[in-house]
Amino acid sequence: MATTQVLTGEAESPAESQLIVNDMSIQVATVNGSGSQTSNMVLLRAIFRMGIPVSGKNLFPSNIAGLPTWFTIRASKYGYIGRRKEIDLLVAMNAETVEEDVRALDSGAAVVYDERLDVKKYRDDLLFYPVPFDKLVGPVCPDAKLRKLVRNMIYVGVVAKLLNVDMGDVEKALRKQFKKKVKAADLNFAAVKAGWEYANKSMPKQDHFWLERMNLNEGKIMIEGNAAAALGAMFAGVTVVTWYPITPSSSLCETLIEYMKRYRIDPETKKATFAIVQAEDELAAIGMVVGAGWAGARAMTATAGPGISLMAEFIGLGYYAEVPGVIFDIQRVGPSTGLPTRTAQGDILSTALLSHGDTKHPLLFPCSVSECFTMAIQAFDLAEELQTPVFVMCDLDLGMNVWMSDPFPYPEKPIRRGKVLNDEDLDRLGGFQRYKDVDGDGIGYRTLPGTKHPAAGYFTRGSGHDERAIYSEKPAVYVNNMDRLARKWETAVRLAPGPEIQESGKDGIGILAYGTSHWAVVETLDQLRREQNIEAGYCRVRGYPFNREVTDFIRRHQRVYVVEQNRDAQLLGLLRLDLEPELIGKLRSVLHYDGLPIDARSTTDSILTQEIGGIAPAAAPGVDSNTPQEVQA
């Protein structure tokens, strides 16, 4: 405690007028497997503890150890937590990428680097902070084998000193990270202090970036989207989880296993109120979901694009046999060894229409960790109400990165299990017809296997069945079934979550986005207003099928920019299927597909290029007269 206070007390104060406070991006370039993830999380959490809105993005390779990896931390008093591609402070630890990393910086950026790397030969317009990492790590870590891991803690101390990160918060963040491993925490914190002391003694402040305590994170939490979705599934009352490991979805089920073992064991019998099975492949994972959903369980799986492709046949069966199930798609780039650790919204079109024959499926688009939680719950209700597979379309950026958020709301409404008849219902009704549209909403009543009633049993199969579930190939019977499924889709339009609309759009420009693109768009809206005085409207699509509000938004605007993280404008493609021709003509695309999370600058520039045929010069954030509104606590 004493140490911390002394250290903080000695912080120097650069001239206040020159400082850029609580608005910066830090990039750490390291080698995968070198323990840098822990260092980066400590920095991120320390800034979070200082009450400054912050986001962290791990840009990592498909590799366990040895390949280059980057971590960006953005602190923003304006509350922007999307990616910012411009880097203010680089921590260059990787000899292999240092030239590329340094050359990518804007003039005037600062670089903290291992003194063995001759950074100055690449640029002379940066602010240089060489650090003798090897010399510093020796005294704090006598065990040579651990030095490689502890070494990265030194930059935490250096950065903390340079940017005025509170060492008390650093220590708390570090101890949280190491949990009960006190000795490891002590060792690592000694390395942090060594870095801090070196910077304090030998590193005069040259840059203008500065962090100061705020109080914007009161009550907030930090969590990955996958963990949030796992929590949502647990509170949705999931009972059967079947999965096959695939990046970036694996941590969803792995976290779920931890939570379920802790909170879903029957207190009296010590037995599980759930079954979680690692399947042999995605075919089996979805087959088990279909079997379990048919037998009445709340069943789910989590996967990524390649898994979705493998599940295509079963999803068609689920659609026609009308079996509920929830599939989390944590989207990533491309097939095979494409870019499995890079983010994308590339499965939208293929998932919406997955399988053969006429099939279409409800999709939910969470944009935040909070929505990962709430939409997980919603997905299970929708799947059982609509008796069909429902997809939650996350992406790697949301699923695997840590995001700050308000705490999640406890579900207010009871679980909705859809139209299920039990033995008493059957006594009263005398029987039932599985696929008859009794209520006019296209949804039939089902019984669950095991229901003790002579009229309860039925035979489930694909599309060739009549209202009593009896096999038929008669044209009229098939058409009748298809038309009922179309009516059910109309019910899905009613039940799927509608968009979140932020009006204004007085200049006739609308932006339509979904999922994690949201975080770029909220910043783009401000940039358009600040830089070009353009007031754009915003429609954040939260579900498919689209409802009238989406159509009306497009109708109200002259041009609507559909922002998405894929090459082929996939959501725009889906909109085209629904819209009248004159509305289709209003749609424009803003596309981002380089594998990294979308950022506001690129989005704004793309819109401006299309609007006025040229890119307006970007205002330096935080220093011009048109600074965005600071978030008020």
Partner: protein, 349 residues
Amino acid sequence: MATTTVPPAPPRKVNRIGLEQADYKGNKTTLCAGCGHNAISERIIEAFYEMGVEPHRVAKLSGIGCSSKSPAYFLRTSYGFNAVHGRMPSVATGTVLANHKLIAVGVSGDGDSASIGIGQFVHLMRRNLPIIYIIEDNGVYGLTKGQFSATADLGSKLKTGVINDLPAIDTCALAILLGATYVARSFSGDKRQLLALIEGAVAHHGTAMLDVISPCVTFNDHEGSTKSYSYVKDHESPIEDVSFVPFFDDITVDYDPGTTTEITMHDGSRLLLKKLNSDYNPTNKSEALRVLGEAHDKEEVVTGLFYVDTKRESFIDQLNLVDEPLATLPESRVRPPKSVLDEVMESLR
């Protein structure tokens, strides 16, 4: 005055839960007349009737093919799911996870299990999922009109004259190796043996895998076929004479005790194996595999119960599930209270 005496109606024959055998029938078959699969359906009907199984507790599952149509032809009032090709094992697994009180009957074919579905077959056996898994094995794809399957024997000939030059997959040997705990082979025409084996399978808790040679009368019942009626009749070599005594049946058994092995099933039923081959022990894995290997060498079709293990935990036992079906647990047991969410939120600050 003449009186007419009406002969008393014959007493209605019912099983221990008061159902007639007709209550276990299915819809009229649409398979070819004489198809071995129909005979298997008949034995399933008899077995479930005799065992007094409640039809509402039965989930019939299948993949795609002639075999997979047959669940519609037995146990009409049970629940059925005709899934996709080769994937019945996963659907069955999900069904049993959702409700482990169900008695799952999976009906598959040699194409469905040994070719497209071999991956799922392998993993179901490995898990020892409680299921009666029947392969209706004719060595040929019937529904697509007569292509070889992976259980067709080396050297067997299609109607078109095409010779199979790849070795057959022995699903029984595979099942034993992988961990299934009740593995047998029979012949659709062997009423007594097949009935006893199915009854034993109903009483078993774990994966009961029955490979039933079932000649295809349309595409594979000719001279060159090793899965034809005549071939199997000539080459069949039973390893034991099987009889099944349900636990509720108090009948005397006419087996000679000196040559009989008695296996007590999970529900207390007894499976009696009269030795034809005096050194055969169905609880010994390597012995079972040796017998199967030897039969291949001699080009014989060995039938009977090759392997049984009543001790190994089933997949459901391993998962330590609550006693009630997961599918119908009330909200109070599957949605943790608000205090849990508060606790988790606090840990994330």
